[in-house]
Every structure is written in C-alpha cells, then in structure tokens.
Amino acid sequence: MIIKFSRILGVVRNQLSGIRPSVRGYAVETLAGSLPSAERKTSSGVSATTTKPTKDLGPAKGLLAFFDSKDNWEVNEVRVGRSWRKDELRIKSNSDLHKLWYVLLKERNMLLTMLDEFNANVESFPSPERIDKVHESMVNLEEVVRERNKAYYLLETGETGERPGQLALNLLGMQFFFKTAEHVVPPKHNNHWFKTRRLGCDRREVAQFRLYHNEKIWLEKLRARRKLTRHVMKLYQKFPNIDEEALQAEFPEVNLEKVKRFKGAQGHYLFKSG
C-alpha cells in the first residue's frame, strides 16, 4: 500500500514538473537572469551542479607551442645552429637529457605543423633542414640514454637489458631473426602463438629448395671473390711495385702469391734498363 502511494506521488510530481519549474530549476533560472548576458553564456555550458560562475580560461596558450614564433612567419630563412652531438650529450645529466628531449619533441611537432601549413598554402617553408637537425639530435639523445641504460643493466644484472632476439627456421627451412616478446601465457601452453608463427619445416619437403637456394648463395659469394681477385690482378698490372703488405691488409681474402703469377697481372710495357 505504501509503495503504491509513493508511486502515485511520484507520477503527480513528474506531471507537475512539466507545468511549473521545480525548485532547483527555478533557482538556476533566477541566477542566470540576474547575470549579464555574456556571463550567462559561459556559465550555461559548464555543468549544472556548480552554481558558481566559472572563470574564463581564455585562449589555450599551450597550443601556441605548435607554431613558430611570429617573427619567423614572414622570413625566407631562419638562422639556426647545428644538431646536438653525442659527445655533448654524454656529459649532460639524466634530468638535463630528459628536459632536452621534450624541448626537441615540441620543436619537431612545431616544425611538422608549420611544414603542413606552408604546404597547404602553397608557400615555401623557411629552412626545412631544421626538421633533419632536430631528428638527428633526437636520435643521438636516444642512443646516449640507451648507452647509460645498458651500462646500468650490465652492472646490476649482467645483461644488456635490450630486447632479446632469436634465430628460427621458417616453413621453407630458411633461418630468420625475430625479436622476442613477453607473454602472459607460458610457451608450452601458448599453442596460438606457435600456430600463427608457423615455425619449423619438413626437412624432406624443403631439401630440394634448400639445395638450390644454398647453391645460389654460394655462387654469389664466389662471384664476389672472383671480382676482388680480378681487381687485385689489375692493380698488379698497373702498379708492379705495389706495397704488398698494404694490399693484403686491404684484401685479406685474396691469395697474392697466386694472383701475381696470373697472365693478366703482367704489364705490357718494358722497364728502362740502365
């Protein structure tokens, strides 16, 4: 009985609310009416729960970092220095590198935005080499941080801390390298991974293929070796008094004693006698 009564009350309240505003709505309306029109506009969209007129935050100044300074909008060339070198970065502290990284990151974002904007307006972007310089600095910085990370891990754990890799055979029996990743499921239960990776092969099926493939690789190596030999032979022909030690150091694979006796290694000229 009590439940029914409360329901009826609720229905009546809902119907009445359509006719005249509720207490809360009435209060908000009067407050809004008392404020100047501009203020009302801003306060209406924020949130219904807060009755305090919110402060106008104004333009988002942080977003201006996506654009170059105004002086550089009209010039044809922006004079900048060179990129950061590794030696310079190595003597910086970790916190300095951290700060510099975000300076560079913001600079790169700014340059990319400006490049797009200039391209959209069919204008030439002033000093586009700035993008390359920032990129080079970022690559150098990352390498320096990685060096420190490696040194720390080697000292603490005896490993580099880099992402490990592994060699495996694919379906054709060819070796390939892949970077290993962490998994929640241990390997002996992770059938899905093995199915998608398709590792391993039937040796008998791929035997013929591997034979031809290895032959191809071997021939390529042979050709490269022959090319070197021919090059050394021509050097002997051109410079009969060549420094053999330096030559052997340059081409350690070539057998000089053998190449020297080749017909092509003999010069077709005569030395002046006396």
Partner: protein, 151 residues
C-alpha cells in the same frame, strides 16, 4: 605512449612509466564551422585517445575535456611522370575538445605573402645592381672592349 618496447603490465606490478615518448603530433587546420574549443590534430596511428589526452595535458599544459579520434587511410596517388601508384601513410585524426571557456583560434601563418615576395625582389635587385656596378668599375679603363673579354 611510445613506439618502443615495454614489459607487459601484470596486475599488482607498479605502474609502467613512459620516459621520453617518441610520438609526434601536429595540429591540423580546423574544419569549417568547427567550435572554438575544439582543435584538430594529426597523430601516429599507434596513439590512443588516452595517450593524446596525456600528451597534451602533460607536455603542453592544455586542459582536455574529451578526445575523439579515428584512423584515416593514406591517399593512393600516382607518382607524376613515373606512373606507378604509391600510398601515403595512414594517420590518426583526433578532435580534442577543451573546456568550453578555453578557446583557440588557428593562426593565419602565411598571410603576409606579398611582403615576403617584396623582400625577395628587393634582395635580388640589390645584388643585380651591385654586380653591374662592379662590372662597370672593372671596365672603366678599357672602353670599347667586349663584356666577355675580362672573364
């Protein structure tokens, strides 16, 4: 929040912190009739909405109310004169909503085009004038000699 490799997060472990994020982000020109508190961005496809929000709040100190993004397919286009077809890289297009009392107007970067061209022309004229004066000075003592003679 980075394209580098990180250990996977297990429940109960300390929260993963990303140092030195390497994501890029660029602001794009606004669409027509885009509200003033909405800004359009182009980001790499790997970035999530949460990443975009954190990126702007932490690095640029911009208040962010909402982020909506989608992956846009890069355009297929024919290379001029070569004839083969290439595809531009896909990117993520994000509409970032700031609080309604926070506004940003996309600046007109290349409005002073005429001025820039004038500057270029003046520089060119100046160099031309200087070189002609130099040429005249060189040939002052030998009238009637052709211009190519003193090369």
């Amino acid at each position: 929040m980075s394209t580098r490799w990180y250990p996977i997060y297990q429940k109960g472990n300390p929260q993963l912190r990303i140092f030195l994020t390497n994501f890029w982000m660029k602001m794009a020109r606004p669409d027509p009739n885009q509200p003033e508190n909405i800004v359009k961005f182009i980001t790499p496809t790997q970035m999530s909405d949460h990443d975009i929000k954190q990126y702007l709040e932490k690095i640029y100190q911009v208040p962010v109310a909402d982020v909506r993004s989608k992956i846009m397919e890069g355009k297929f286009r024919r290379v001029p004169q070569k004839g083969y077809i290439i595809k531009d890289e896909c990117y993520r297009q994000a509409y970032v909503t700031m609080p309604p009392n926070c506004k940003f107007k996309f600046p007109d970067v290349t409005s002073n085009k005429a001025k820039r061209e004038d500057d270029d022309m003046k520089k060119y004229e100046k160099t031309m004038k200087e070189s002609y004066e130099k040429f005249q000075k060189k040939n002052a003592g030998r009238p009637g000699v052709p211009g190519w003679f003193g090369l």
